[in-house]
Symmetry: C3
């Protein structure tokens, strides 16, 4: 069985946001799959997707602080700057974190660790909504 759904995420603040539940809601047919894989592609080059800690918001806040230092704004050597100070850093963060993920499915659910959730990593100051392509295959 193949399922493919476009998920439209509402605009969010710059930062790291848990979106696991939104993905579940977009694919109720997931519950029928005993073994399978779910693939997520974020169709953007200035935001990312990653798996990390799903409980304590301080992890997500420390992510924002760390990545802002790792990928500084206004580096004198940036040449791709016409969309603002957050333009080039957002492209770089997207590739450091990645923008696609594959998740195993077992007995109708994502088979993640207890503490794992999907983060949308929003790297723009004033982002529009973001689009995910969810592709599921299983039996």
């Amino acid at each position: 069985m193949w399922i493919q759904v476009e998920i439209n995420l509402a605009p969010r603040q710059r930062g790291y946001h848990l979106i696991t539940e939104e993905i579940y809601r977009a694919a109720p047919q997931l519950s029928e799959i005993k073994i399978g894989l779910a693939h997520l592609l974020l169709q953007h080059t200035s935001a990312g997707l990653t798996l990390n800690e799903n409980a304590d918001p301080s992890v997500r806040e420390d992510f924002e602080r760390f990545f802002n230092r790792l990928v500084p704004e206004n580096e004198p050597y940036y040449t791709h700057t016409y969309e603002g100070d957050d333009d080039m850093p957002a492209h770089l963060k997207s590739s450091l974190l990645g923008c696609e993920l594959t998740l195993p499915i077992t007995d109708g659910e994502f088979n993640l660790g207890t503490w794992q959730g999907v983060y949308l990593c929003e790297a723009r100051n004033r982002a529009s909504g973001r689009t995910l392509i969810l592709t599921i295959q299983g039996e």
Copy 2:
């Protein structure tokens, strides 16, 4: 054909460890697959998975030294610190390296490059065992 196996890895020291052979041993049915894909999810948020050089241990030692500098301990802005100095750096390393991989299968084997192996990237000082979910599909 779908195969799904839980692989329990013994605890390892902080550092980078080749686990390709352990993955093979967990899935002998792999040998029957002509074309397919194998997906690995590490069910943890304080360790990672990556593909890199499988021969010279100095690469894995330089990985440990590099990532400890890239993601320092005790940054004054970290707020998620209650599990120790290695807590927040481990979460960050996990997302920089990623915790899931997909490998092609050809004629019963992973179709990796000559020098590629799967690394478990252990980022905690005193880690417990780690769990991988291996999901294989092929024909």
Copy 3:
């Protein structure tokens, strides 16, 4: 339907290169797939694959400058140095960026965002050609 193709990329300069069109040309059967997934593995440990901005070459030039600063050459603590100054940094960049990607397929095409393309991230000064394994499954 399963398709698996080896793609031989010509040698390229150190830097970031768009290869989306080469991947399309290697798999004309893609046009018959309504829903599916395409997986790319770069069989090397000194180069990477990532999705990023497909239009403005300045993004790719800034990638080269940024990653050269993030992963410096000649760090005194590197021990894996016998292939030159670019040896260990190339391994590290490969794992930071990743060397494998999965792309959704919809109606015979990769279902990427408008601005997304596949980058070959060449991290060696004098690289040989690079080999990709493209594995496609769909219906």
